[in-house]
């Protein structure tokens, strides 16, 4: 085995090395040069993405490390997307962290370890690797939620996240152990080969536990309890982080575990997911209506969107998975922008997380308001914005598999959902500013990034072809 054969794993290897270097730099120079670590981190992400494009590209499925690790085009694309999303998230966050005096190197290191967890998860081909990725990502994120150590609510939500997350990890491990016990292998490909219908009750039990864990990670009802509290309690920059890149990882988790490893049990899990999706759509959309906190509202909107992603899996066809992938990428792009708006609208001592704070935003900052409007219409699924195509793809996949009732419920719920997105726009555009609020202050570069973010939502909406093709090609 030559070193060169490890090339597909270059993102992970580079990132692990980068984390060590940045940690050392932070220890020796972090106190004196505050801006060093953030800059180094962004640099590392850019170089990492460059190396991935140069060396990490694989045209066909390659298995490395004795079957623990798989490199394929899907993984390649998802990793590049994760590089991009994490970089943008960190870019948006910097001023926010500075204002709250929590701009510390550890934050960036934690973000990078979370990213490493995402990569591991995306490329996992073995139950152990899956678990490794899940925990690496989750532990980094727990620490990030508690990062503002003086904030009681952040500590509370970190605790909640940790305890509930541990339960979910337990469920995942238990399900994995049952599957391992019944098939005698941890390798996802082998599991798929050895699981044959009819299934023993043990397999179904193990599957159930795994579905529960996946639902928890995605935030599907009734395993969504942690999500609104964590989104609201965490510092907004962390909410932005956990609301974006990890979703890609959890999409990959669902895809690798359910549609590859446990492919044989598709009839069983697709029923479970269908029930989860319906509950998720209804609870997410209806509960979002009564929220007064924008972060919490977006948390419920996340839950509602997860319902759509799960519907893509329910379809149970490659087309459905491609639809779910497309939906995930689009959702992450939009979430990145909407939490970015909250970050940019905040100021020292002002979180800008109440809906009231957005009254008359148009007058205070037209660009932010315009970007937010585009993002909200996109999540509501109105053309010409990209969110429309995401919903269309899901509907299409469901029709192809004759899920009439799911289409009807999803369509009705997207109308309910439109209401609270419109409410945000109404506050920004139709209402007068409530009180004297601090002006929005953000560096030109960050504003430009947000503008590009919103422009991408529009552009991908007008010309959706390429991304749709890409998603279909990645899932074959």
């Amino acid at each position: 085995m030559s070193w060169f054969s490890l090339a597909p794993a270059v993102p992970e290897i580079f990132l692990a090395a980068g984390i060590c270097v940045i940690l050392l730099v932070e220890v020796f120079a972090g106190e004196r040069h505050r801006g060093l670590t953030p800059t180094l981190t962004l640099l590392a992400l850019a170089v990492g993405a460059g190396l991935t494009v140069r060396y990490g590209h694989v045209t066909q499925r390659t298995v490395l490390f004795d079957g623990m690790y798989v490199a394929d085009e899907l993984g390649f694309a998802l990793k590049l997307a994760a590089f991009l999303f994490v970089a943008v998230a960190l870019l948006y966050s910097r001023a926010y962290l500075e204002q709250r005096s929590i701009l510390r190197g550890e934050y960036y290191v934690l973000a990078l370890t979370a990213l490493l967890g995402i990569f591991v998860l995306v490329s996992a081909n073995n139950l152990l690797t899956v678990y490794l990725g899940v925990e690496l990502l989750a532990l980094s994120v727990y620490a990030m939620v508690a990062f503002d150590r003086d904030s009681g609510i952040a500590a509370e939500s970190a605790m909640k996240y940790f305890v509930l997350g541990a339960v979910a990890s337990g469920a995942l491990l238990y399900g994995m152990s049952l599957i391992y016990g019944l098939t005698g292998t941890l390798d996802l490909g082998q599991i798929a080969a050895r699981l044959q219908a009819p299934f023993s009750p043990g397999v179904i039990l193990g599957l159930t536990f795994i579905v529960v864990a996946v639902a928890f990670k995605l935030g599907a009802v009734p395993f969504h309890m942690w999500l609104p509290d964590v989104y609201e309690g965490a510092p907004t920059s962390v909410t932005l982080f956990i609301g974006t890149a990890p979703k890609i990882a959890y999409f990959a988790l669902t895809l690798r575990l359910l549609t590859q490893g446990l492919a044989g049990t598709e009839p069983q899990w697709s029923q479970m997911l269908a029930a989860l999706a319906v509950m998720t759509l209804i609870v997410g959309n209806v509960v979002a209506i009564v929220q007064t906190n924008l972060k919490r509202l977006l948390a419920y909107s996340t839950i509602a969107n997860v319902g759509f992603i799960v519907l893509g899996f329910v379809a149970g066809t490659p087309d459905g998975y491609a639809a779910a992938l497309y939906y995930t990428l689009v959702y992450v792009l939009v979430a990145l922008g909407s939490f970015g708006v909250i970050l940019l609208a905040s100021a020292k001592g002002f979180e800008a997380d109440q809906l009231e704070d957005y009254k008359g935003l148009y007058r205070r900052d037209p660009l932010l308001a315009l970007a937010m409007m585009a993002l909200m219409f996109s999540t509501a699924g109105v053309p010409p914005l990209v969110g429309f195509w995401a919903k269309l793809r899901i509907f299409q996949a469901l029709w192809e598999t004759n899920h009439l009732w799911l289409v009807v419920i999803a369509a009705a719920m997207s109308v309910v959902g439109a209401y609270y997105y419109l409410r945000v726009i109404k506050l920004m555009y139709f209402d007068e500013p409530a009180a004297q609020l601090p002006p929005t202050r953000a560096a030109a570069g960050v504003r430009l990034a947000l503008g590009l973010n919103a422009a991408a939502v529009l552009l991908l909406g007008v010309l959706p072809g390429p991304l749709l093709d890409l998603c279909a090609r990645l899932i074959r």
Binding site: V382, P383, K426
Partner: protein
């Protein structure tokens, strides 16, 4: 070209911003006039001998879905495109001095909307049609919400959610047909064989979308709110163009795509139309608010459109006369064009009064003729047109529909003709209370007559109303082949 010119100009006005609003205004006017000018050759070089789509444009859009950026014009879309281009000009002029807050965005919203509406009427790909159809909600939502009256937020959210609810089910139906037939081209949807059960569901999904837009009883309740709260320009576009999209949808999708279900459920639509014509007519009679009255009268008049479109099945069933069926559709189309002109003009008239007095209550007026004689003449003309006076465009459409429905059944035409009485009652009573009588209010006494801008706008509209009324032949001729083709599609069976 007609689509992107206004949209591009709209973006340019937006970029010019409120500070350069003088330039922005002129640019908006130039763009809307240019669009109108460009639509004239469309009309003059239109080949009136064929039902095929003309001036086609076709570019690949989303190859994966076999969705094309495909445009084309036929006899039922052409009049509506020209109407759109024609009505946007007065709207731009009407907002000239009146809109003081964020004028750049106001013009931008209207121009972008004009482009999108033309897109709706010229799309020959169902996905593209839906794309324009839905995208248009965004500018309209903002127009009502930002420049509207006191209850604008309620009205605009109601408007948005109602239309959105209708359209998502249309989308679901379109996707279903795509999954079945593998193409979004409208022509292939029309050719797609469907069982009766499928047709019924698709018909109902489409009905929901178009009925909300038209709007038909009982999903009309968003319209009075939206009209009352919208600024004048918004009301004009809403009444003149957006309602027509619903009628256009019936002709373009419901009749040819689901002919058997349409035949089976035609009585449902006819009944709803007649309820709209009569019940809403009575409702209009008791309104205190001028805009609300005209809004209800719009619903009643649009009832004629849906009646004309669906009565064809009864005509064919009872007499077998295809020519009679064509007359029903002719009437529906003429009624759409004419209602677009008349209701737009009436809303402009109300806007003229509102700009001066800042009230829409009928009770606040009276004796306007004494202070604004020229305006009064226009208003009376449009009001008479609204009642269907011979010589005006209102007469042609209603007359054709009533004659056609007479062939179907005496009772349809009798009930439909009631509207002539009711329409005359509420419109003339409105005129009597607003225009004539003694001057009671000091605010009316201080009124000044039309300025040049308003004069030009109302003259142009009056000429159009009279022209369609006196000599509708060119309009009918343009529509003729397409209507014939449509009748054959609508009565053919897909089973």
């Amino acid at each position: 070209m007609l689509i992107w010119l206004p949209i591009g100009a709209g973006l340019a006005v937006l970029l010019l911003g409120d500070r350069n609003i003088v330039a922005g205004r002129w640019l908006a006017l130039a763009a809307s006039v240019a669009t109108l000018a460009l639509s004239v050759p469309l009309w003059s070089s239109f080949d009136t001998a064929t039902a095929a789509l003309q001036f086609p444009e076709k570019l690949p859009w989303i190859p994966r879905f076999d969705a094309w950026y495909a445009l084309g014009v036929d006899g039922i879309s052409l009049p509506l495109i020209v109407l759109t281009a024609f009505m946007t000009v007065p709207v731009v002029i009407a907002g000239w001095r009146v809109i003081e807050t964020r004028p750049a965005q106001y013009y931008a919203a209207f121009l972008i909307m004009e482009g999108l509406m033309i897109g709706v009427f010229s799309a020959t790909d169902a996905l593209l049609f839906y794309f324009f159809w839905e995208a248009m909600l965004i500018p309209m939502f903002l127009i009502i919400g930002i420049w509207g009256g006191p209850r604008r937020v309620y009205a605009t959210i109601k408007f948005f959610l109602y239309t959105f609810l209708g359209s998502v089910f249309m989308l679901a139906a379109l996707i279903y047909m795509y999954v079945k037939g593998g193409s979004y081209a409208i022509a292939s949807l029309q050719a797609l064989p469907l069982t009766l059960i499928e047709q019924r569901w698709i018909f109902l999904a489409l009905l929901l979308a178009f009925a909300v837009k038209v709007p038909m009883f009982p999903v009309h309740t968003w319209l009075p709110d939206a009209h009352v709260e919208a600024p004048t320009g918004g009301s004009v576009i809403l009444a003149a163009i957006m309602l027509k999209m619903g009628g256009y949808g019936f002709l373009r999708f419901s009749l040819p795509v689901t002919p058997d279900a349409s035949r089976e459920l035609d009585l449902l639509v006819i009944a709803l139309s007649l309820i709209a014509v009569i019940y809403i007519g009575f409702v209009a009679l008791v309104q205190q608010d001028m805009k609300k009255l005209i809004a209800y009268s719009s619903i009643a008049h649009m009832g004629f459109v849906t009646l004309g479109a669906f009565v064809i099945y009864e005509i064919v069933r009872n007499t077998g006369s295809l020519q009679g069926a064509g007359m029903g559709l002719d009437g529906a189309m003429v009624q759409m064009v004419s209602h677009g002109l008349i209701s737009g003009a009436l809303f402009l008239c109300v806007g003229v009064l509102y700009d001066r007095v800042h009230s829409r209550q009928i009770a606040d007026y009276g004796g306007v003729v004494n202070t604004m004689p020229v305006f009064a003449a226009f208003m009376v003309l449009f009001a008479l047109a609204n009642t269907g006076l011979p010589g005006t465009s209102g007469f042609v459409g209603e007359f054709l529909v009533i004659i056609a429905s007479f062939r179907a059944s005496f009772w349809y035409s009798a009930l439909a003709a009631v509207t002539l009485v009711l329409g005359a009652a509420y419109t003339l009573w409105l005129v009597k209370r607003v225009i004539f009588g003694p001057v009671t209010s000091p605010r009316v006494a201080a009124l000044e007559d039309l300025n040049g801008r308003e004069y030009i706008v109302l003259t142009a509209l009056a000429l159009a109303v009279l022209m369609v009324g006196v000599w509708p032949a060119p309009l009918l001729k343009v529509m003729q082949p397409t209507i014939q083709h449509l009748v054959s599609q609508a009565i053919a069976t897909k089973l």
